[in-house]
Amino acid sequence: MPLYHNDDQQMLADTVTGFLAEEGGIKKQLRHLRDTNCQDGFAHALWKQFSEMGLTGMLAAETDGGLGMGHVEAGIVLKEIGRNLTPSPFLTSSVMGVTALADASADLKGRWLPRVIAGEGVLAVAIDEGAKHRPERIACRAEKAGNGFRLSGRKDFVVQGASADAIIVAARTSGSDGDADGLTLFAVPKDAAGVGHNSVRLVDSAMASHITFDNVELDGGSVIGEVDGGRALLNKVLNAGRLGAAAEQAGVASGAFDITTNYLRTRKQFGQLIGEFQALQHRAAHLYSEIEIADATVIKAQQLLDAGSEKAELMVAVAKAKAGKASSLAVREGVQMHGGVGMTDEFDIGLYMKRDRALAEFLGDQFYHAQKVAELSGY
């Protein structure tokens, strides 16, 4: 399959680009939500519009009321989300949440999917325990209790956790913390007794929760997939989320690059446009090259993941690391090339820097994924 969008995908891209530039722009969404101290960190009205545009259920199967599309299509949306810094539950709900529920029981799907697809409900995903992404160790524990389970432990960096209807939790149902086996995924309703949220605002103005589970009673129907056999499903959710984050980072990089090169074309010093200086031209050209390579890597990984290729996991790790590197370079060069105004809140480039930082940590930074590439390559 060639590494560019086909006609249908290009049409989708054109539609989504227009929609998010219009409705998801920085002033209308990110700045407004931040300056009004929105406790959700995203606008429910925009989420509803996502649904009206048919985006919320694009990854869900047609039999589940979705569009049955793939990661290439979801990535098109995420790239524009990244470019516009649009706060939305798309990545956690429509990509990770929907992926988690794809093979769940009809009851579970029926309970959560229609609300997400309608743009009324939101799902959060609780994986991390501690400040760094280390899903190889899961200590959060669900003990068997009668026909159900009793969940105890703590999760961190649960994006939009306090706004979610349900939290998808990776918990240990057997074995010790570092075991690959013995994991189970649960869909925990937000009003379950014993769920405690400490919701915090992050550097990019998003909201995330530290969640404590104190003997939370769950019935057997809240289990997603197999008891003790959740690792494979968790990896599937992680791959979808990581690749989605990579696509969003590619969008952040592209957005930061565009406003920076525009600045180079308008700002004058020493009687000339600063874009005439070779010192800046070469850095901009290098950045262009890194962003192009990141874009190519992201679409390759999307195609591999959609095709169910055995190489997908490796290329997803490469994509998350490479898009992270490119995006980080784009925002750092962006602020530096803006000079003093790059440090001001008035200019948008600083907002890109903040978003990049949050996305870099989300589901593993470039060092985590380089390590993953090493492991998957056999060293």
Binding site: Y4, G275, Q278, K300, V373, Y379
Partner: protein, 387 residues
């Protein structure tokens, strides 16, 4: 089964039957490559067989028209051919500046007679070509070149000097940029072809820091070139040159560049050379970049095939690919330790690694320096002011 699936099966079967086992070993250096030409000495029978079998089917240049020695494959078929070659680690049957550089220029600018004559020779590996571009005073500023062809009616008389002519001492013919109008800088250059055995042509190898001499100085002393050996129009050779440079940059990014299959870390680990955790980390970060670049190469080729992608994109590929390759050899040297310092021992195949390491330093100089590539990206792709 689709036509392409059938095609893939045919190719796979043909390769299985016709590609000798020796030709499925990795190419270690330029010596392993088959360059063809009048004076080429095949390394072994397998190399000769492999070239002959491929040439007979047009597989040395799969996407060239059959009339010019190719196999007439479509873009999709040629991609399958490459994939099937990679699948069995088959070596290219023929490495050739004729295929990579002159061929595409002739396909675009050549006359029908020139195409039939020169392209078929290239496809069969009969004539080895070299490229006469750089001059002692004209490196990055190539258009300032001085080698002059004086109009003598039915021929030119060429005088001047070229430098960095790759394998000029082994080449049969040269494609050469010659000034034919001293008053016009850009529109005063012609693109000429001539036989290296023409009286007045001489070459002198240049010894490099690697100890090898892949490049020559090439001298022209009253060299007679018939008028029908021009490609494109008189004084419009710069157009041909620029077009060809695009292909040269693609070639360098693909062969001297970073587009290597396989993980550097995995191969180092197999040799027990990744004990140092900090080096291991550096190698892992490099592998991220290298794998990402393989995606870029694939996307670039896909876009070239349908005419999408910016026409100046080969400059980006050349820049990124060569910088990556230099980094790769730096890491190999670090992993190799003092063994990688040995210059001529038998155990190290005559210092193959340190010589390759030094050779890669030229990757970001030859065919346009990295700095020139960045200039071109700034000017033509980013359209930055005054660039």
């Amino acid at each position: 089964m689709s036509d392409l699936d059938t095609f893939r099966q045919e190719i796979r079967a043909w390769l299985e039957e016709n590609c000798p086992p020796e030709m499925r070993e990795p190419v270690r250096d330029d010596d392993d490559a088959c360059w063809g030409g009048r004076n080429f000495k095949f390394k072994n029978e397998a190399q000769k067989q492999w070239l002959e079998r491929c040439a007979a089917k047009g597989y040395t240049v799969p996407d060239w028209p059959k009339a010019y020695g190719g196999a007439g494959m479509s873009a999709a078929e040629a991609k399958i051919w490459r994939e099937e070659m990679v699948r069995i680690n088959a070596r290219p049957p023929l490495s050739s500046f004729g295929i990579w550089m002159l061929g595409p220029a002739l396909l675009k600018f050549g006359t029908e007679e020139q195409k039939v004559h020169y392209l078929s020779q290239i496809a069969r590996g009969e004539i080895r070509w070299c490229q006469g571009y750089s001059e002692p005073g004209s490196g990055s500023d190539l258009v300032s070149l001085q080698t002059f062809g004086e109009d003598k009616g039915d021929h030119w008389v060429v005088n001047g000097q070229k430098i960095w002519t790759s394998y000029a001492d082994k080449a049969d013919w040269i494609f050469c940029l010659v000034r034919t109008d001293k008053a016009n800088k850009y529109q005063g250059i012609s693109f000429l072809l001539f036989d290296m055995t023409t009286p007045g042509v001489s070459t002198k190898p240049i010894k490099l820091i690697s100890g090898n001499s892949p490049f020559c100085e090439t001298f022209f002393d009253n060299v007679v070139v018939p008028k029908d050996q021009i490609v494109g129009q008189l004084n419009r050779g710069w157009d041909v040159a620029k077009y060809l440079l695009g292909h040269e940059r693609e070639m360098i990014s693909a062969t001297g560049g970073g587009d290597r299959a396989g993980s550097l870390g995995a191969s180092l680990a197999r040799h027990g050379a990744l004990e140092d955790p900090v080096l291991r980390g550096q190698v892992a970060l490099f592998d991220v970049d290298a794998l990402a670049f393989t995606c870029m190469s694939e996307k670039f080729m896909d876009e070239v095939k349908i005419g999408r992608g910016h026409p100046a994109q080969p400059n980006m590929m050349k820049y990124a690919g060569t910088e990556l390759n230099k980094q790769r050899l730096e890491l190999l040297m670090s992993a190799g330790g003092s063994t990688a310092l040995e210059w001529d021992s038998e155990e190290t195949e005559g210092g193959a690694l340190p010589r390759s390491w030094l050779r890669t330093k030229a990757n970001s100089i030859e065919g346009g320096t990295s700095e020139v590539m960045l200039n071109v990206i700034s000017k033509r792709i980013l359209e930055l002011p005054g660039a």
